[in-house]
Subunit: 478 residues, 4 copies
């Protein structure tokens, strides 16, 4: 197998700013993320103890692909997830370990996919897992259908791009068309796993599919959103947004042919609706996801603390409270990850799965914690983030003026400016706001997350308590 | 040793509503809490596996007094704390296990108390622990000084009741006067542990004491706040407030004599300031305290769910979100208790101590969670809690009218009214609001809890991350 | 006409705690409110310039009954409303001026009520207005139907008390049975105006009525909720709750006969649904209501300020911010009342009506402001409100101890305790919480208030602005 | 006088991205704002009734420069302010009318500036007002000193740029050096008014100056922050940020000579500290400022409504509530502006001044309202704002795919994308976040605004109310 960046060079169906990109690794909008993924691969060589496991053939593979059997296995995976997240300070959410965790779980629980006269879906899932493992690929995924008029059922939509649907099939495979939106990191992944979130209804049969395909397949187009990378500005001005723009894209499929061995669900509404949950993909990707969130929380809390110190605010009790709000939130986060592992459950296949109730609890509370981090950073700096000049001003004729006028007691003008730039990057720049929106919505609408938490949580003990109150011996007879 | 309620009958220095109470167990303001404490003792007989441990002499004692050596020991103590909390649904915070946890820790870490020409304070702590254990006593505590003009140092206060201070001493003991405020459950405890929270300054020497004394000592007066128990109303009207009023009281000491063997700190500011922290009392009582909080959270969440169902609101997604906010908060709470145990540290004495950073994280966030529980219950019922008649209306000539007019589809008028009464009791009654205020302030001002969390938390990794961002290879040279 | 309290003495159908009350003015649960209403009548004699107007016959009547023709008239009414609200510091919401404002408006807009073969409803409204004016009565109102299973339409309810409905009628009048809930101050009003809020549906005809009746009518029962007045406690302990409990009650009607001249709507769903809005009752009672809210806001802000000063907190900037949050909220409130008057509209009858959009804006925001007032008071006092002894302790043998131990620098123990008691009364006592719940829900669910504000607000200009943005001359052609 | 844009062409001391700009009107970072200011001048010709007043010489001048004598005058000024704000939808805060309002007030109240042996400061203010009026100039202002180590008094700072300070003076004028930060719109104003906010201390004499100078003066440098204008992107992508970036800049003064007739305060700490308040500049600029805020609130509310409709969310009650929260907030805003005018006070000079307490109340609450607007927009769109492609994608080979896949029921792909782009521009783009930060901090730290509101508000009535509660006739004697 070629090196990751070599593989990317062959891509010719990625569009950015209305232009087809022919050399992804040199395009500024992608080069930062590509470097981060390269670093992901490097880590496997540098720290195989953390990042790899040996399969039956004693072949080392990324540990995110390990099918976990014990709590200890989950802890090992967590350690690797965290180290991978640290590459981008948690700003890249869909690194390869995300779908790797999904594929391991899908493989282990593939039985429910079953088989029919066309193919053996269950076996396809197992073989695809092996293929990804052997080639150490980067798999992205597309699951969100474009926003269309929700009052019309999917199956009755006239819009050709309401979702991904089957056109026809033959003995070798199926032909699909349609679209998925917000396919994150799609332009720089090797392949994509395409499936639906639960919610399909009778009549939506042709949309009820799940499959995998190479990004570079014929008939595929990847149309990117606008990048947050700023031409003409430096890492000094935008320490993160110029390095870690996690691209989101429209995925357009136009008569794309998928061989049967890459098809996991075919015109089967029940299977499609079970795909995310019964495979325990939700649980294992959720585990990776909340571990990643810690990196982000740590960075933002670190920035808040550094700012408080630089601005000499950290002696004020109300600022200390804000910072303590953040450090204590991190503690709740870490605690919840621990609980999700300690109360993990072993399925009849012998596979262990982290506690989804705990993971979803984090997912409901974390966006609010993260929003507070953003808000506290903004409120501490007040307007001063708005006042920083361009890096070229520091190498212009005005350098000396700026070096003097922008320095404070302890920090020189460059250090001070760079820290303010970083604070703005994660809170005020499109990059930072995209990160905030991502935290709020990437795992679903928080309102629904909470609603489902209530619905699926074990409430027996709590309700019993209410009855116990009523059973307190009455001093009266009514 | 006599039975607990027998012991209480001898008390003659408790004042309520301006009157000296001569038979505590029959006074309605206390009888509910006394019953709960009796239940605490019963549990030791009913479930010794959970509630007792065997000491060196194979004598069973309450497990809250066990000096823990392993994480497993902490888990055992947690189980007992939770079961005790369930007696009162967490509404009684200062049950005997609270100070028991403190005494075990003080005994284990007593070395720092030292000795001087008067007595061996360290040994006194050990002996007191044994005494409490052998007699299975209920020890309360008083640590908060009355609110006085804070601009004058304690040592210079003219007010005789600014705190508890030494009048004189002789070879047998010391003589103290003064006051402590909000001494919770003081009227129904056997003895009290008196000490100061940290913060004494040079000049405050005579206030720098810690000791234990029987509640019924000569010179002691216990003046209670107004009770939430309502004469003429029933458990039907007030399911909790008539049963679990956790009395707070002023403790007045007037020339009270304390023998040296009950003195732990004497005119020693450093020792007084270390008393809470260096003894790890803070950590072990904190552990009991946050475990207790779960009972309360479960009850209120149970009430919220029952209300939502009764009012047929639980099909609305926005109500489901509110309920999920509560269930997911409970999950964070449970997670944090687990983390506080899993990251407990073993001291050089071989004693294990739960992670105070995690405990304090809960203590900062729990009051906000609890306030949301109160708020969600109030908002779901809207005004209907205000409309419930007195229990005697249900046994009056109007009974039939009420039974018909107050019933809803599924619930009859009595069930419905009782649930609304309970909802009001924990949110709108003085009882419920006292519980809310207790959760906010019993462990200190949340602002300071957060501030101290920030100050004491290990921030190195977070700050390193910020530096790593700055080390991202620059594409420019400034 | 007899004096108000004389009239009340004849009531014999009010039930409290399961007992029929035979002398309302001496019953502690009512005596405070009755005194406040007596004060309302006294003000008309003491300050007729503010509280009265002269009708065509030059007869002075309460100005709340004046049919306003100019903005100046609204300002005059506002002045009287405020002065009446100040009697109870805004704690009594349904003082006579509330329904007076409604009756004046109903009279002025009575045309829509029409007439039919039974009676002339329009004329009935006019005559009733005159009757109330001539006798200077106190009219309460009942509009909320008991909470029942909402999945069954009103007209199909088996429950006899689902609402007030017509049993039969003859040439002299109608016979009604049923119930209304949370009929505030019903036990101490002369008469009640009974009507429905909008929302009746075809099939609910027999519920579609509006009429007036004396509280003391045959077949009427008033069943009170539990009182907040505390037997054995004083105004020192409970400065407000023992004086201004605004009683809410169930109103039960059992075959009550209403003469046609008191009937305003009869089995007419359209008219019943219009009753509140098309009469502009909503607007004029809303005006009184938001003016009253200012008294309450001022008292709570005053308490917060006094506490901050007593506790020497008002030098801290974060406490100052909280207090400024309150003072600036009062300013928004006053501003909105002014705007509701300045943008009042004159109907074709020449009657002026305050701007309901502004009034509803206040009603959405005021509960949140009020909740903040409650919260700020609670957070400033921390736990100290929980520590105050009973007034009898201050006249007991312990008086001297308490006088010394509870005094602070400037305030003596009694002043300090009384202020803390007041703070608790408006925030922690059932009374204070009932006031909070009242502010949230007495004008309808805030969620619906906001929703209706959006639906009824003039949005044209705002939407035009968005289009203007899109019309900014493009530098590109798409 | 030349036309505004002609005047700007002469500027040669504005730096952007390290480069000196030689033709401001053609530089994209400025061209949008310059067009808006041109529009400001155009309005005076198009609508003189609204935008102009006639002075003693019957010469028409911008009404923002009128010295108001009556409430009606304030209303007229408000009308013009609003119309000017509408040019940029409130996104430009420092349009010429802002400082015009200040200069009119300074002129009217100039007496306090006094005179000394060097010059007549009072007369200088009057003459400068006339000069600006006659030439219809655009005056910006600089008042914020660079953030430096605040533990060192200004007068002892080694940093040459700690503020603007006097170097020396002679019979013709004074020589100053130093810096001001966040000088908004400085690059495109004709002149700047330089002064200090209150807070100078003895020892800071050389910093205690106020004066005016042409932007293009010798020794002046304007160093801009990074622009939000995106090269290569269109108004379609960024409807506001590409048109209304309100530039903030560092102002560096290096030995700049100011003639005495432009000096208003010279080495006079008392005068410098009074400059903002005693001139009533605070009040009149505040009036303009809060009127402008309405435009912004209207646009954002309009966007929120349009989005809700496009996404078919506006039938959900919880979304309706959010929208009603916004419409009702606008109502409070409008009300407060009315109150600030209706309670305006006339000074002994016959000048009327809007009520600063009301204006500051808005300024405390508006940032929170605005933040909610931003938040509601973001939460309604969830992630969909992240998915919009570049405008060039719509004119690329993929146009047809996008037109189909991005259209919804009613809106075509272009309309939908443009609305989402606008939503992102005002909430997620650096532009939108800069606007949010501006609203929070441009009038000072909200914490201090609230604190000062408390300190300066008339609290007598509120405190009297508390005393009245205590005077309620006691039923007991303590």
């Amino acid at each position: 197998m070629e090196k990751y960046s070599e593989r990317l060079k062959k891509f010719n169906n990625v569009y950015l700013n209305g232009t087809r990109i022919t050399d992804l690794p040199t395009e500024p909008a992608f080069s930062g993320s590509i470097k981060a993924i390269e670093r992901y691969y490097d880590l496997q060589n540098e720290n195989p103890d953390i990042h790899c496991f040996l399969d039956n053939q004693r072949h080392p593979s990324p540990i995110s692909l390990m099918i976990p059997k014990t709590i200890e296995d989950l802890r090992k995976k967590r350690k690797s997830y965290k180290s991978i997240a640290d590459i981008s300070f948690g700003m890249l959410g869909r690194t390869p370990d995300f779908i790797n965790a999904a594929l391991a779980s899908l493989c282990a629980h593939s039985e429910f996919l079953g088989k029919d006269r066309y193919t053996n879906y269950s076996n396809n899932a197992i073989q695809y897992y092996k293929y990804v493992k052997e080639n150490n690929l980067f798999i992205g995924h597309g699951s969100i259908n474009p926003q269309i008029d929700r009052s019309i059922p999917l199956g009755k939509q006239q819009n050709e791009f309401a979702g991904v649907h089957v056109i026809d099939h033959d003995t070798n495979g199926i032909r699909v068309s349609g679209a998925k939106m917000i396919v994150t990191l799609a332009p720089i992944a090797d392949e994509l796993l395409i499936f639906n979130m639960p919610g399909l209804k009778p009549g939506d049969e042709k949309y009820a599919v799940a499959f995998a395909l190479p990004v570079n397949s014929s008939g595929v187009k990847i149309i990117c959103r606008k990048t947050t990378v700023k031409p003409g500005l430096s890492n000094f001005d935008h320490p993160l947004s110029n390095s870690f723009d996690e691209m989101d894209a429209y995925l357009l499929l136009n008569q794309v042919y998928i061989p049967w061995e890459r098809v996991f669900v075919f015109k089967n509404i029940e299977r499609s609706n079970q795909f995310f949950d019964k495979s325990f993909i939700r649980h294992h990707t959720g585990h990776q996801d909340v571990v990643r969130a810690i990196s982000k929380a740590e960075l933002l809390t670190g920035i808040a603390i550094k700012l408080a110190r630089m601005l000499k605010l950290d002696n004020f009790i109300n600022i200390q409270e804000k910072l303590g709000d953040l450090t204590s939130s991190i503690e709740l986060l870490k605690a919840s990850i621990l609980l999700s592992e300690e109360t993990a459950q072993v399925s009849h296949q012998g596979i262990i799965t982290p506690n989804i109730n705990t993971i979803q609890a984090i997912r409901y509370h974390f966006p609010k914690m993260y929003a507070k981090m953003v808000q506290h950073i903004q409120s501490m700096t007040a307007g001063s983030m708005l006042a920083t000049p361009h890096y070229q001003d520091f190498i212009s004729e005005n350098r000396e003026y700026l070096m003097q006028s922008l320095s404070t007691g302890e920090l020189d003008a460059l250090e001070r400016t760079q820290l303010l730039n970083l604070a703005w990057d994660v809170t005020g720049d499109s990059f930072g706001q995209r990160q905030l929106v991502y935290e709020y919505y990437h795992a679903g609408d928080p309102m629904r997350i909470a609603a489902n938490h209530y619905l699926s949580y074990d409430k027996k003990e709590m309700l019993d308590m209410v009855n116990q109150v009523f059973n307190i011996k009455e001093n009266i007879k009514i």
